[in-house]
């Protein structure tokens, strides 16, 4: 397990904070305090939030906006597993300089499955950037989000900060490994789902089946991404998960879902969230799958591994904006 030593509560862990806000005023106050402090300290600042909130911040940053990298979290973090690689990339762009990151990964229209992955992502932040010098602030919209999303945020952030800047340790902070393991139960596939057992010689048949189910819903580009993702997962199973994969594929009214299960165990909770060495022969499958899919839910125990991927048609031209 590559998970670092458990992050202790208190001063050592205070670099990952949650900001609960109820309205725009509180949002601007809380986030700008963090951003201004970072800029004053000479730290590179990366802000990834839903677009309406990004616009709000841009207006209030006045002349300092150019010093901040602003990104649309509904695209960058549509798959929550991609957020850690993006932060890592920002850190790598600024060698030797501790960075500050504002990440708002939860919004009201996220599905429960997405929120569960947001929670697991937040837990893994504690493991991924411990000791990096990074400061991370995560605003949560307590007026818009369902109660479980807010309760989970208290388990994944060692410290709470209010819009006035008052800080307190989170009483409910939980070891990231525990959160990663106990969050996001996968419901059984629906009765009509197609299932196929895949060995090395069956990868083409797997793609044919996936194509048949997905073609009515996905345009060519998204279909290609799905076929690549299912192939990479099944290839991982063939190579590392006992020689065969069991793939289960179904479509809903607006997305295609595929489970790939095998008998192997993935003990590295950060698997797929690190950029692989391009010349390495392993480690790139899950990383690639994270870039190809809208949601990736990886559940692994000593009894086996199941990865559920979701691919939906691309976002409409006018992106969703989180209300504030």
């Amino acid at each position: 397990m590559s998970m670092p030593a458990t992050t202790e509560r208190g001063e050592h862990a205070a670099w990952h904070q949650v900001l609960f806000y109820e309205d725009r005023r509180q949002y601007v106050d809380g986030v700008l305090r963090f951003v201004d402090t970072a800029l004053d300290g000479g730290r590179p600042v990366f802000v990834a939030v839903p677009p309406a909130n990004g616009e709000l911040l841009r207006r209030h940053l006045d002349g300092r906006g150019e010093q901040v990298r602003l990104a649309d979290m509904t695209r960058l973090g549509r798959n929550p597993s991609l957020i850690i690689p993006q932060i890592r990339g920002f850190i790598d762009e600024h060698p030797g300089r501790p960075v500050s990151f504002v990440g708002e990964p939860a919004w009201a229209t996220r599905t429960p499955a997405e929120i569960a992955e947001v929670t697991r992502h937040e837990a893994l932040i504690n493991a991924a950037f411990d000791g990096s010098g990074a400061q991370v602030l995560c605003p949560y919209d307590i007026a818009g989000l369902a109660a479980p999303a807010v309760a989970d945020a208290m388990r994944t952030h060692p410290e709470l900060v209010d819009p006035a800047g008052r800080r307190q340790p989170s009483e409910r902070y939980t070891d990231p490994r525990t959160v990663w393991a106990d969050t996001g139960h996968l419901p059984s596939p629906p009765a009509g789902a197609e299932q196929i057992t895949v060995a090395r010689s069956d990868l083409g048949r797997l793609r044919s089946l996936a194509r048949q189910i997905a073609a009515p819903l996905l345009a060519a580009a998204a279909l290609d991404e799905l076929l690549l993702a299912v192939t990479e997962l099944a290839t991982n199973s063939v190579r590392h998960g006992g020689g065969t994969a069991t793939a289960t594929i179904w479509a809903t009214s607006d997305r295609v879902v595929c489970d790939v299960a095998d008998n192997g165990s993935i003990t590295d909770a950060l698997a797929g969230r690190r950029r692989p060495d391009p010349d390495a022969s392993t480690g790139r499958g899950l990383w690639l799958v994270n870039h190809l899919c809208d949601l990736v839910q990886l559940h692994s125990s000593r009894h086996g591994t199941r990865v559920r991927i979701t691919v939906a048609p691309p976002l409409p031209a006018a992106p969703f904006s989180a209300g504030t």
């Binding site: 010689s201 990868l203 083409g204 048949r205 793609r207 290609d224 076929l227 692989p276 391009p278 690639l288």
Partner: protein
Amino acid sequence: MNEVFATRPAATICQYQRQRFDHALLSSVRGLHTDQLGAETEANVQGGGSGLSLTALPDGTGLHIDGEADLATRAALHAALSALDAEVVHLRLAGLRFIDAGCLTEIMALAQPPRHLVLHDPPRIMQRMMDLMWPGNAVEKWSP
């Protein structure tokens, strides 16, 4: 491949145009296969749309790669790519319907200086993978 297929009712045909590969490669490839089909003509490949066809370019500077390249065909791809020794290698990919990350890694391994790699008509998803996995790569791409 032999190990996997031994217990399964599937056949994979790897195609090599005899007159376009040198003798050494054909010998080494032949050694990897359990059986050899004598026909010079095109053969149908394994069911389910899978299968890969590798054809040397007439001037020996590269390959036509057609069909689907995945774990089942990676060893054959590796063997064919390893036999190329031109300084500028051309891969003609208009007929490539699928390629996974492992097979793309085999191709990208060719792009080591001083060798220059030119991809003709690479599929869009292959370009996406290259941008994700080898950002800033120096591979030349030609599309119509």
